[in-house]
Symmetry: C4
Subunit: 280 residues, 4 copies
C-alpha cells in the first residue's frame, strides 16, 4: 500500500499500540504498591490478550488487504510469461504483516499458559522489527534521494525498538526498557505519518521539493521534533498515572528491601524462561 | 549563526559548562570523606541549580538571538510565495538550543524536588546531544569536503557524550562516567573553536587551503591534540582538588565497606528512579 | 568450489551441525532435572566428541578437495612466470576450512581433558566465523551487484554467530546464547543453499535477472523468511524435546535455589577457564 | 618514516612489547598460587617499570628521529612562504609517538606510587591506540586502493586493542582482557611488517601488483593467517608457562572461595581507582 492511506494506516496502528503501552506500563508499575494491585493486574492481563490478539487480527487483515486489493498480487509471486516478479513492494508489506502476526500468536500463546517458552513473544517481536527495518532498507518505490533519506532515518527508531525488545527477552517487565521501547514505537508511528504527508502531499500545492537540499534539512529537524515530542508525551502520560494513584494516598516509594524482591521476581521470570514453560 | 562568532560563542558555552564540571565532580567525590561533606554538598546543590538554570537562560537567549537577529528567520519557516524554506540553517541552530533548554528545565525541576522522574534530566540531555549530532550531519553550509570532514569528526565526542549521559540515567553520580562525559564535552567546545578558526580565518592570510589533502591530515592530527590536551587538563584539575583536600589531613581512601555503601546508595537512587518520584 | 555443489555442500555441513545442536541443547537442558541426567550427559559427551571431531574430518577433507581437485591450485600460491596469484578464490575456501579445523582440534582437546584452556574451543570457533565473514567480504567471483548483495547480507548471521560464540568463551553452557548461536548457524546454512540456487540456477530457465532491482527486493524478502523459518524450526525442536521429557512425569521447573546453583556452576567453569586447565 | 625500515621498526616495537606481555600475563596468573608468588610478583614489578619506562624512551627517541632525520620537518609545521604544510606524514608519526610517551609516563608514575589515579595508564594507552587508528585512517601516502585497504584492515586490531585497554581501566588485571589485548597488539606488529613488505618490496621483483584485485584477496587471506598465527602463538606461550609451574607440583586450580577473593581484590582495585590515589 504505497499510498498516503497505506502509510498513515500502518502509522496509526503503531500509534495505537504505543498509546496503549504508554498507559499500561506506568499503570502496572504504580499499581503494584497500591491496594488495587490485584484488580489492575487482572485488567492488564486482559489488556495484553487484547493487545497481542489485536496484533494477530489487524496484521492478518492487513496481509489479506495487501494481497487481495484490486491492485494486489493475489498470491502471484513470479510471472513466468514475462519473467518478472509480481508487485514485490506489496509482497514486502505482506511479509512485514506476517512477521508481526507470528509475534502476536506467540504473545497470545504465552499469555494463555501454553507450553511456549516465555520470552518467545518478545524475541519474535524483535525479529519482526529487525526484518521491518531490513525491508525498509531495500524498498524501492523511491522517488528521490529525499525519499530514501526519510526512510533511512526511519530505520533508527525501528532497530532501536528491536534491540530494546531483544533485551526484554532476558529482562522482562523492566520499567526503563518498556518506556524506551514505547517511545521508539510511537516515534515510528508519527514518522510514518510524516512520510505519508511528504510523499503523497495533501491539501493544496505539493510543497515538498525533492531536489532542494533544504527539504532534507527540514526533515532532519522535523525528525528531532518528533523525538522530543514523543518523549514529552510519555513523560506527561507517566505523570498523569502517577497523580491518579497519588490521590489514593498510597505510598508509591519502593524501599531497598522491595527493590530486592523486585529483582528476585525477575530472577524467577528468568527461571521460567530457561525452563521454557510457564506452568507454575 | 554560521560565523566565527557563532562557533566560538557556542563553543565557549560548552567550555564553560565543562570547566564547571571538571571542578564539581572531583570536589563532590573527595568531599564525601572529609569533614566538609555537608557544606560542600550544599554548595554543589546551588552550583547545579545554577548550571541547569543557566542552561535554560543561555539557550533561551540563544534561541531568541537566532530567530530575531536582523538576518534571522523571525519564526518564518516556509515562504509560500517562492516555495522555499526560510533559513533552515538558523532554524536548526534554534532547534538545538530548544533541546538543551528542555534538558535544563528537567534538570531544574528534578533538583527543585518536583515530581519529575529522576534521570529525566540526563535522558533529555542525552537526547539533546544525540539530536545535535544528527543535525551536525545534515548541516549544509559546507564549503568543501574539508568543512564536511571537520564537522563529521566533531560528531564523535558529541555522540560519545550522549551515550555517556544515557548510561547516567541508570548510573547516577558514577565518577568515571562523569569524567568521561566532561572530557567529551570540553573536547566538543575546543573543537568548535577550531572549526570557527578554520572556516572563518582571522588574523592575516586565509591559510586554510580546503583543496589541499594536507590540510585534512593536519586537522586529524590537531583533533588528536585536542583529545590529549583535554585529558591532561582534566587530570590536572582532578589533582588540584585532590591536593587541596589532602592538605586537610583527611584519609581519602575508601574501604571495602564504604564502597559497598556507595553501591547501596546507587541502588537507592535506582529505587527512586523506577518509582518516578524523588520525595523521600 | 564456486559452484552449485560447493555452496550446497558447505551449506549442508552448516545445516547438519545446526540440526545436531538444535537437538543437543534442549536435550541437555531438560535432562538435567530428570532421572536420566547422568545417562543423557554421557551420550552428549560422545555427541560432542563426534561433533568437534567431525568438524576436523570434514574440514580436512574439504581442504584437500579444494586443493587437489583437477581445477584446484595444488598448493601453488603464486605463479612466478606470469606474476599472477593462483586461484585465490579456492585458497580462501581452503583457509576457511583450516580455521574450522583448528577450532575442531581445540574442541576435541578440551573434551579429551588435555591441558588446553577451557574456552579455547569457542574462541577459535568465533575466530573462524569472523574470518569467514571477512573473506566473504573480499570474495571476488562476483557476477553482479546482486551477487555482492546476497553475500553481504549473508555476513550478518555469520558475524552474529561469531559474537555469540565469543560471549560463550565466558558464559559456557548459557541456554539462550546456545539457541541464538544455533539459529544463526542454521540460517547461514539455508542461505548458502539460496545463494547456490541464485548463482547457479537449476531446473529450467535461469530466472534470476541480476539487473532487475526487483530480484534484490525478492532476496531481502526471502532472507527474512529464512530467519523466521529457522526461528520456528528451533521452537518446534525445543517443544518436541520438552514434550518427550514431560511425558516422563518429571518436574522440569527450576526453583530459585537451583538457578543459583546453576550460576555457581558457571562460576566454577570460569574458575577453570582462568586456571587454564580442566583437570578437577 | 614511510619506508620499509619505518614500518618494520615500529612493528618490531609492537612485537617486542606483545612478546613481553605474552610471558608476563600467564606468569603472574600462575605464580599467584605457587610458592614463588612473592618473588615473581617482585620481578614483574620491575618488568612493568621496564615496560612502561621503555615505552617512554623508545617513543621519545622515535619522536626525535622523526623530527630530526635529514628528511624530517625539524619542528617546522607550516611553510609561510609557499603556504604549504611541512611533511605532515612525519608529523603524524611524531604525534603517535608522543601519545604513547604520555601513556608511558602515566604508567611509570602509577607504578612509582605517585598520586596518579590508577587506571590513568590504561586510559592514556587506550587513547593513544584510538588516535593511532584515527591517524592511520587519514594517512595519505597511499599509492593505490590496495595500500588503503591494508591500512584500513590494520585499524581493526588497533581499535580492538584500544577498546580492550579502555575496559581495563575498570577491570584491572583481568586475565581474559589481558590475553585479548596482547593478541591484538602482536597482530598489529606482524601486520606492520606485512605492510612494510608489500609497500616497499625487498628481495627481487616487486611482485605486488596493486592493480590486480587478486592481490587484495591475498591480503585478506594473509590477514586471517596473521590472526590465527598469533592466537596459536599465545596459546603455546600460555602452555609453556603452565607446564613450567606444573612441574613444581603445585595445585593450580582455583577454588570457588579463591575466585571470590580474586573478585574482592578487583573491588579493592576499583576502590583505589575511585579514590584516585594508590597509597594504601
Amino acid at each position: 500500500m504505497g499510498s498516503f492511506l497505506g502509510h498513515t494506516l500502518s502509522g496509526s496502528l503503531f500509534l495505537l499500540l504505543g498509546f496503549l503501552w504508554s498507559i499500561k506500563h506506568p499503570l502496572r508499575f504504580f499499581s503494584l504498591k497500591s491496594k488495587y494491585a490485584v484488580r489492575v493486574e487482572k485488567y492488564i492481563d486482559y489488556m495484553e490478550l487484547l493487545e497481542w490478539g489485536g496484533m494477530i487480527v489487524f496484521c492478518f487483515i492487513g496481509f489479506l488487504l495487501e494481497q487481495f486489493l484490486p491492485e494486489g498480487p493475489h498470491f502471484h509471486l513470479y510471472n513466468k510469461e514475462n519473467h518478472k516478479w509480481v508487485l514485490l513492494n506489496i509482497w514486502q508489506h505482506a511479509t512485514m504483516h506476517i512477521m508481526f502476526m507470528f509475534a502476536g500468536i506467540a504473545g497470545v500463546l504465552v499469555r494463555c499458559k501454553f507450553q511456549v517458552p516465555l520470552g518467545m513473544d518478545y524475541f519474535l517481536f524483535s525479529l519482526a522489527l529487525f526484518i521491518e527495518g531490513l525491508l525498509f532498507y531495500t524498498h524501492t518505490d523511491r522517488l528521490s534521494s529525499l525519499d530514501q533519506y526519510i526512510h533511512y532515518i526511519g530505520i533508527i527508531p525501528i532497530w532501536c525498538g528491536a534491540l530494546c525488545s531483544l533485551f526484554e527477552v532476558w529482562l522482562r517487565n523492566n520499567p526503563i526498557l518498556e518506556q524506551i521501547r514505547t517511545s521508539m514505537f510511537i516515534t515510528q508511528g508519527t514518522w510514518m505519518w510524516q512520510i505519508g504527508f511528504v510523499l503523497y502531499p495533501r491539501w493544496g500545492d505539493p510543497h515538498w521539493d525533492h531536489n532542494d537540499p533544504a527539504t532534507r534539512m527540514f526533515m532532519a529537524m522535523s525528525y528531532s521534533w518528533h523525538f522530543v515530542g514523543v518523549t514529552l508525551f510519555l513523560a506527561i502520560m507517566y505523570g498523569i498515572v502517577y497523580w491518579i494513584f497519588r490521590r489514593q494516598k498510597v505510598s508509591l516509594g519502593y524501599t531497598e528491601m522491595e527493590i530486592l524482591e523486585f529483582s528476585n521476581e525477575n530472577t524467577k521470570t528468568y527461571t521460567f524462561l530457561v525452563d521454557g514453560s510457564n506452568d507454575k
